[in-house]
């Protein structure tokens, strides 16, 4: 009954989505408030039914009900409970159900908390959400239904792909989907604005926090996915420019641009049309990401669905929504009123520059990801666009962006003072130059670019700190007053500083990891010693162990630094009988932000084992950076003040500073 009730709930959600997508539109057209209010109750009811449906699937997994095809194909009775639950979205059908559940959640939130929205705006927004939801319910029910049954259930399931049996699956997909689907809100708002032909203050007030929520989750989701790949795949790589990774990076870049232009829009009522376009692009790229991963066009770790009929269906959804929204944009954008003038050198100008670089970077990733696919479709040639392409295109776009980044927050709204901003960044610049000089002296003759890149990162971090120091008037007023001012600063300002510093931190990690990474790859027998970056790793023994649904071969290494024993590392190799596949479980030893990484290969006839040992200096900074960025986003989100970009009269700025 659980399975069938969940199935029926999903069908009802589809029916409600269809009503939600039409009735409120008619209501808005004829100005009938009752019809417009249908959007709200149907959105809430839809959330209820999808949540019921999702809960039903979770229960089926927990009970190991193998009469459901989907459970049979992706679960196993001996799997630990955590992986039974996370396994719900560890495959195509379940992950699509999670997708719509999150979509319904966002729709429900708009319905529940959208009291300060104009009635017709809310009706339009929810109707657009209804279109998206209806399309995806239909997709799930017709091509990837998780509730199909087997009349005579098998005794045991086929188990989940072992690579996915990891805590990462509990975190990475839900985060990523919260990010992807979160952009649907700004998309719906954009479409609603285009349909209505007007953008008002409530519009801007709503779009920024929703974009911020989506962006925070997407940032964490991508970082988490990267760390997961790093420790699970056994190669110590954290970013491969794999098309699936790019698919998540593109909405992130567009979303970051949207976030910044939404600030301009909220504070200064400018860049309206551009913000609308970015909203459409961010969600379109999210849909594209879903399409690339789910259609089976790409083969990778993520492509656990390869079925052409699904691909065609998703392609239809994609054409409908992206094509439709862009057509609507082309048709209606001119009807929107532009507002808010500003000088080229100003906060707005800086944000426009940011937008230009971010969208260009997004475009290069787009080309690098889709060009090989397009070429294969048209000519049948298979080419692969790898890291060199992205390093050569993405890198040069990001360098000027990072150079310009510290200037932005220091410029005033409407008209800014570039020279003044540069003066205030002197300290950061000096810190960067010192760092470059020290690194050159230290590494003499090594890579030329690495010290420069680290200098740039220091400049970015220093710039973020300078901005804070400037606002606190640190070193110009007594410390106690500066502290008081720091407490009084809007949390959004702290958020900006954290997020910008996070980029610098991540950059340091990336440069250090790629430049000064050292490795040992070879075969070892018990009592052999390998030495990497000053560490001695002694292979003590190799043992076997039985896990809940796998056999495990564990190698025990004793790590010593300068003769002093530090710790024992136990990398292992797991063998999953049901799927006849194995995974490597790397062992990590963290020293500060650096890590020692050991993963196992195959054993040979003589009992020796292939071992890969890496020393990765400051590698953890790569993920601390995004965490800092997300934390900055949270701070900014918690700042519930209404935002008014008060244009500073030139004299007023001086008047603020205390007399010396």
């Amino acid at each position: 009954m659980i399975a069938e009730a969940g199935h029926y709930a999903l069908v009802l959600a589809l029916a409600l989505a269809l009503i939600q997508s039409t009735v409120p539109m008619l209501g808005a057209r004829w100005g009938d408030p009752a019809l417009m209010n249908v959007a709200r109750s149907t959105a809430l009811a839809q959330l209820l039914f999808v949540a019921a449906s999702f809960t039903a699937l979770v229960m089926l997994y927990v009970n190991s009900d193998f009469s459901v095809v989907n459970v049979f194909e992706n679960s196993h009775s001996t799997k630990p409970l955590l992986y039974k639950i996370t396994g719900v979205w560890g495959h195509h059908e379940g992950s699509m159900l999670l997708w719509v559940a999150i979509l319904a959640l966002f729709g429900g939130l708009v319905a529940a908390f959208g009291n300060n929205l104009r009635l017709s705006l809310r009706a339009h927004v929810l109707a657009v959400q209804g279109w998206i939801a209806a399309a995806f319910y239909l997709f799930i029910l017709v091509t990837s239904n998780p509730f199909l049954r087997i009349a005579s259930p098998p005794i045991e399931g086929r188990d989940l792909n072992p690579v996915l049996q990891d805590i990462g699956l509990a975190v990475h997909p839900p985060m990523l989907y919260l990010g992807y689907v979160g952009f649907s809100i700004s998309f719906s708002f954009a479409i609603a604005a285009l349909i209505e032909g007007r953008i008002d203050a409530a519009w801007a007030r709503w779009v920024r926090p929703w974009t911020l929520v989506a962006w925070i989750f997407l940032t964490l989701g991508i970082a988490m996915g990267s760390y997961w790949a790093y420790y699970e795949l056994g190669w110590g790589g954290w970013w491969f420019w794999d098309p699936v990774e790019n698919a998540s990076l593109m909405p992130w870049l567009a979303g970051t641009a949207l976030l910044h232009s939404a600030v301009v829009m909220e504070k200064r009522n400018a860049l309206k049309v551009w913000t609308i376009l970015l909203s459409i692009l961010a969600f379109s790229l999210s849909l594209l990401g879903t399409f690339l991963v789910r259609s089976g066009v790409l083969t990778s770790v993520h492509a656990f669905a390869t079925d052409p009929s699904r691909g065609v269906f998703i392609l239809l959804i994609l054409c409908l929504f992206i094509g439709g929204s862009l057509t609507l944009y082309a048709w209606r954008a001119s009807a929107l009123k532009q507002g808010g003038l500003f000088a080229p050198v100003s906060r707005e100008g800086a944000l426009v520059l940011n937008n230009l670089f971010l969208t260009s970077a997004c475009a290069t990733v787009f080309i690098g990801t889709l060009y090989p696919l397009a070429l294969e479709v048209l000519t049948g040639d298979k080419i692969s666009v790898g890291a060199p392409f992205f390093n050569l295109t993405f890198g040069p776009l990001f360098v000027p962006l990072l150079v310009a980044m510290p200037f932005g927050p220091l410029l005033a709204w409407k008209r800014g003072d570039l020279l003044g901003a540069a003066q205030r960044l002197t300290a950061a610049g000096i810190a960067a130059l010192v760092a470059i000089a020290v690194l050159f002296a230290w590494t003499h003759g090594g890579a030329t670019l690495a010290p420069l890149a680290i200098g740039l990162a220091i400049f970015v971090i220093g710039g973020a700190l300078s901005d804070l120091a400037e606002r606190m008037a640190l070193f110009r007023v007594p410390l106690a007053i500066a502290m008081a001012r720091a407490r009084g600063l809007p949390r959004a300002t702290w958020g900006t500083a954290f997020a910008h510093a996070g980029i610098g931190v991540a950059l340091i990690g990336i440069v250090c990891e790629t430049t000064w990474n050292s490795e040992y790859i070879g075969t070892m027998k018990p009592r052999d010693v390998a030495s990497v970056a000053g560490y001695q790793l002694k292979l003590d023994e190799i043992t076997q162990r039985q896990g809940p649904n796998f056999r495990e071969m564990i190698a025990q290494f004793t790590v010593a630094l300068d003769g002093e024993t530090l710790q024992v590392m136990m990398p292992s190799k797991r063998n999953f009988t049901t799927r006849d596949s194995s995974t490597t479980e790397a062992a990590l030893l963290t020293r500060g932000a650096s890590q020692l990484y050991v993963s196992l290969g195959d054993t040979n006839a003589e009992g020796a084992i292939a071992v890969r040992i890496y020393h990765k200096p400051l590698v953890l900074l790569i993920w601390w950076g995004p965490v800092l960025m997300a934390f900055g986003g949270l701070l900014s989100l918690s700042d519930r003040r209404l935002r008014v970009g008060a244009p500073k009269p030139a004299k007023a700025a001086r008047a603020l500073q205390p007399a010396e």
Partner: protein, 367 residues
């Protein structure tokens, strides 16, 4: 019946979600207007000034700007009359009351299986699970061997079971331990080699070939090692070598060796002529027999083949040989019934069925 009751409840809830706002009529003029946001913003500026976050002149500039937007918004909002559209409301209500349940149930019935109950694992009997005790035993033996890794006899027992359970990697390791702790022999080397071949998906790897060569070095007549060495030659593209190895095996083999059919099939595959099913001595003996004795001997062989195929029907070559034998002996009805049995035996495997039908066509017995 409870299921349909639950469905009905859910449907009612869904219908209610649509009807409820419709019934509330035009009194529900909720929702914010733009002016509210601007008024909030003005209040916010006052609070900021009070808290000392922004200066007075900045606050004034901001108030002016918000005031401008407020005026613009007030202009825009005037042309928004709200009026009830009864016709549309009634139509929506009808859609919710009639259309929604019909559409939902129709759609569901096309996809769902309302007659199937739940089958949670806990409620199902474990009697049918024959593999469970075996796996438990294996786990016990493995635990024992973990403590006494030098127990050669234990490894000898465990290894073939692991192969059967599909845990080939572990089986390879187990066979290595057998050789290490229970002593080396041709048969054990062959076991290990065979496990290696299974692990490689049927390819005789260099590693496996090494094991078979060691086996042959200890016992030149080990049939399994010889067969796989022939297979290795075949996979290397040296078909003549393969055929030579296999022919040598057949010439040395006893007439009733159970693997004879396998080798003959292999020889056919590499395109070498199959030597007569009897060794030279047996043929010489057969020549000396009288007609009746020879007939008995041939019949005995054919019956043995038929009996073997009754037990394991997956051997297509064997079936074809049997049919051919009946045809030669002039027993066409038996050939036809063998053909029917063969088709039944391999019906589950499309590839084998195809091979069988092709072979039958060559014998002129298709249909």
């Amino acid at each position: 019946m409870t299921l349909w009751f639950v469905f009905a409840l859910m449907t009612v809830a869904a219908i209610f979600a649509v009807l409820w706002p419709l019934s509330r009529g035009s009194s529900a003029q909720a929702g914010g207007s733009e002016a509210v946001v601007y008024k909030d913003q003005l209040a916010e500026i006052d609070r900021d000034v009070a808290a000392g976050l922004i200066g007075l002149s900045e606050a004034e500039a901001a108030r002016v700007e918000i005031g401008r937007r407020l005026l613009a918004a007030a202009d825009g909002e005037r042309n928004q009359p709200a009026h009830a559209n009864l016709g549309l409301r009634r139509a929506s209500a009808v859609v919710a009351l009639v259309g929604l349940p019909i559409a939902a149930v129709t759609f569901y019935l096309a996809l769902g299986s309302p007659r199937l109950g739940d089958f949670p694992l806990a409620s199902r009997t474990r009697m049918a699970d024959a593999s469970q005790p075996l796996e438990n035993m294996v786990a016990q033996v493995e635990a024992h061997l973990e403590k006494n890794p030098t127990d050669g006899r234990g490894w000898t027992v465990l290894a073939p079971v692991l192969v059967r359970l599909g845990r080939v990697d572990d089986a390879v390791r187990a066979y290595r331990n057998v050789i290490q702790h229970a002593g080396d022999s041709a048969e054990r080397r062959s076991d290990l080699g065979e496990a290696l071949v299974i692990r490689a998906g049927g390819v005789v790897t260099a590693e496996a070939k090494g094991e078979f060569e060691r086996a042959v070095a200890q016992n030149a007549d080990d049939p399994r090692a010889s067969y796989f060495l022939g297979l290795a030659a075949e996979q290397d593209g040296r078909k003549a070598d393969a055929a030579a190895i296999w022919r040598a095996m057949l010439s040395k083999a006893p007439a009733d060796a159970p693997w004879r059919a396998l080798i003959e099939a292999a020889l056919t595959r590499v395109g070498a002529p199959v030597p007569p099913a009897l060794s030279d001595d047996a043929m010489a003996a057969a020549r000396d027999m009288n007609e009746a004795d020879r007939g008995t001997m041939v019949r005995g062989m054919v019956d043995r083949l038929a009996a073997r195929l009754k037990q394991d029907g997956s051997d297509v070559e064997g079936w074809l040989r049997l049919v051919r034998a009946y045809m030669v002996m002039g027993e066409r009805d038996k050939a036809t019934s063998a053909r029917t049995e063969a088709r039944q035996a391999v019906a589950g495997d499309a590839e084998r069925l195809r091979q069988l039908n092709e072979g039958l066509k060559n014998l002129g017995l298709d249909g």
